[in-house]
Homo-oligomer: 336 residues x 2
C-alpha cells in the first residue's frame, strides 16, 4: 500500500539484450538492496528500446524475456519488486503525450544527456522525434508510477532534473500537487570497465561478459582482459590503476584483504598476470555459477516468466491508471 509519503523506487532497463556484469555491478545490486526497503518498480522498456532498434522487433521482444530471467536469476523477487513491460502499461505512453505540451523543443535540445547522445550518434536534427522527446517519456514513466527515488548514474542526473521541471510545471498549471517530484539515488560503485579497458562495459561496444555466460566463456573473457601493457616481465612492477583485472577484483572479490595483498604484490613486482587472472576467474566462476544455474532452471518454464510479467504489468497499471485519472481530471478531461 502506497501512502502519500512513501518512497517508491522506479528503475529499469531498455530491452536491447541480456544483461551483463556491468549491470550487475551498476544497478542490479542496488535493486537487490532497495527491494527490501521500499516499493520498487522495474520497467522493461521495450518501446524505448524500439526507438533505437527500429525494426529489430524480434530482438527487443526476446530481450524482454532474457532480462526478466536475469532479474530473477540474480535474486530480484517479484513478491518485493514489481517487474513490468512498458508497452503493457499504455498509460505511460498516454501521460507522455500530455506532458509533451509542457516542454519546449529548445529545452529538450539543451538536455545534456540528449545533447551528448546526439553528438555521439552524429545525427543532429536527423534524429527521430521519439529520441528527442525521450526525456519526456522517462518523466512519464517515473511520474505515472509515482516514483520518488530513482537510481541513476551521474550522466543521467539531467534527466531527473528535467522530470522535476515537468512535475513542477504541471502541478503549478493545474494548481494541485498531482505529480510527485523525485530524487536521484547516485550509485556509489564506479562504473565497471569493458573487458578491453576502453570505456564502460556495454553490449554495443562488444566488451561485455553476460550474466548468463558459460564457465568457458568466463575463462575466455578473463584471458582476453587488458592488464597493464607496460608489465612486460613478471619481475617488473605493474600498475593497478586502469588495470581491468583489478577493477573486476575490486568489484566482485568478496575477500578485500586478499585483493589488497595482490595489489601490493603486483605493484612491487613479482606477480604474474596469469596468477591475478586465475584469482579473478575463480571469483567470477563462483559468482556466476549459481546465477547461471538458476537462470537455466527458470528458462525451462517460459510461461511462468510471462505470467510473472503479466501480473507485474497489471499491478503497475493499477498505479498508472490512478495517476492518469488524477492527471486528466486536473486537466479538465473528465466528462462524466
Amino acid at each position: 500500500m502506497t501512502t502519500p509519503q512513501s518512497t517508491v523506487v522506479v528503475t529499469g532497463d531498455r530491452t536491447t539484450g541480456p544483461l551483463h556484469l556491468g549491470h550487475f555491478a551498476g544497478s542490479l545490486q542496488t535493486r537487490l538492496q532497495l527491494q527490501d526497503q521500499h516499493q520498487q518498480f522495474i520497467l522493461l522498456a521495450d518501446t524505448q528500446a524500439l526507438a533505437d532498434h527500429q525494426g529489430d522487433y524480434h530482438g527487443v521482444r526476446q530481450a524482454v524475456i532474457d532480462i526478466a530471467l536475469d532479474y530473477l536469476a540474480v535474486g530480484i523477487d517479484p513478491q518485493k519488486s514489481t517487474i513490468l513491460i512498458q508497452s503493457m502499461v499504455p498509460e505511460l505512453a498516454e501521460l507522455s503525450f500530455y506532458l509533451m505540451n509542457l516542454v519546449t523543443v529548445a529545452r529538450l535540445e539543451r538536455n545534456p544527456t540528449v545533447k551528448n547522445e546526439l553528438r555521439h550518434k552524429g545525427q543532429e536534427r536527423d534524429v527521430a522525434a521519439g529520441f528527442l522527446t525521450y526525456p519526456i517519456s522517462q518523466a512519464a514513466d517515473i511520474t505515472a508510477l509515482r516514483g520518488t527515488l530513482i537510481p541513476v548514474g551521474e550522466d543521467q542526473l539531467p534527466m531527473i532534473e528535467q522530470t522535476n521541471e515537468i512535475v513542477r510545471r504541471f502541478n503549478r498549471m493545474v494548481g494541485k500537487p498531482i505529480l510527485r517530484e523525485c530524487e536521484a539515488l547516485l550509485s556509489n560503485t564506479t562504473r565497471l570497465p569493458g573487458l578491453d579497458g576502453k570505456g564502460k562495459m556495454s553490449r554495443a561496444a562488444g566488451n561485455h561478459l553476460s550474466l548468463s555466460a558459460s564457465a568457458d566463456e568466463i575463462t575466455a573473457a578473463v584471458n582476453r582482459m587488458y592488464t597493464d601493457a607496460q608489465h612486460l616481465t613478471v619481475g617488473s612492477p605493474g600498475r593497478v590503476e586502469g588495470n581491468v583485472v583489478f577493477s573486476f577484483l575490486d568489484a566482485f572479490d568478496p575477500d578485500s584483504v586478499k585483493v589488497a595483498e595482490l595489489k601490493a604484490h603486483y605493484q612491487h613486482g613479482g606477480l604474474a598476470d596469469s596468477v591475478v587472472k586465475a584469482r579473478l576467474n575463480e571469483v567470477l566462476q563462483a559468482l556466476l555459477a549459481p546465477i547461471r544455474a538458476r537462470r537455466q532452471e527458470l528458462a525451462k518454464e517460459p510461461d511462468a516468466i510471462l505470467s510473472m510479467l503479466l501480473c507485474g504489468s497489471a499491478k503497475a497499471r493499477q498505479t498508472a491508471v490512478l495517476t492518469l485519472h488524477k492527471v486528466k481530471t486536473a486537466m479538465g478531461m473528465y466528462y462524466f
Copy 2:
C-alpha cells in the same frame, strides 16, 4: 461494418470554442453530405486544443459540449457519424507515441503547416514539443480510426502527405500493410471571410458569428460587416469582390438568381448597402433560427449529449483498439 476496402472519413475540430458560420460553410456542410455516403468519425480534439490553450482547462472542456451541440443542431446524426472525444480514446495517444520513432525532427520542422504556424507564433524553437509533433498526433488519429478520406483545406495538404509518409514507413518496416493510406478531400467552398473582411473568419481574430448567435447578434453582425469602402453614395457603382456582405450571400443565400441580380444592380449603382444587408440579415436569420432553436432544445438535456459522446468514443475505441493490437503485434509487442 468496415470492410478492408471501405471508405472511412476522419475529421474533427479542436475544442477551443463554439463553432461559427465559417465552420458551417467550410466543414459542417461537407460532413452532412459525407455522413450519408460513408462511415464518418468526427473527433473532438480536446488534447490537441490543450496544446495551444495550456491551462484553459475549463474552456477546452466546455467547448467539447458546445461543439457537440453545434454538430447536432446543424444535423450531424450520431446514428450516421461517430462523434468521439480524443482524450477518451487513449489508443490515439498511444499510437502517436509509437509513431514518434518514424519521423525525424528535421522532417517535422520542414512541414509547411508547422513552419507557417511557427512563423505566425514567432516562437521558433521555444515552441512546445507537443506542437512540433502534432502532425504525428494527427497521423495517429487518422490511422488509428482507419481513415481513408480526410476533408481538408489546401493549407492542410502537407499534413496528409506526412501521414502517408508515416504509413508507408511503418508498413515497410513491419513488412505488412497494417496502416491505411488516406487521401485528402479538398473542400470546394472558398473560405468564408471574417465580418471585418480581414482574412478568414476565426474566433481568435474576433471577426466571427457563432452558429448559436441570437437574432439580435446576427443583426448587429450584419450591420458591422464591411462592404465597399469606396461606395460612398447610393448612386455610385459598388464593388462586389472583397465585399463581405456579398461573400456571405454567395455562401448562404439559397436564391442564387436573386444574388446575381443584386450584384448587377450594386455594380451598376443605385443599390444601398442597407438594402443588401437587409437581404443578408433575412437569409442568416432564416438559416440560423432553426439551428439555434434545436440547439437550445438539446442543451436542456446535457446528460443526453454526454451519453452520445460516451457511446461515440466507445465505438471509436473499438476501431482504435483493434488497430493498436495489429500495430503492437506487428512491432513484436505481444507477449502472450
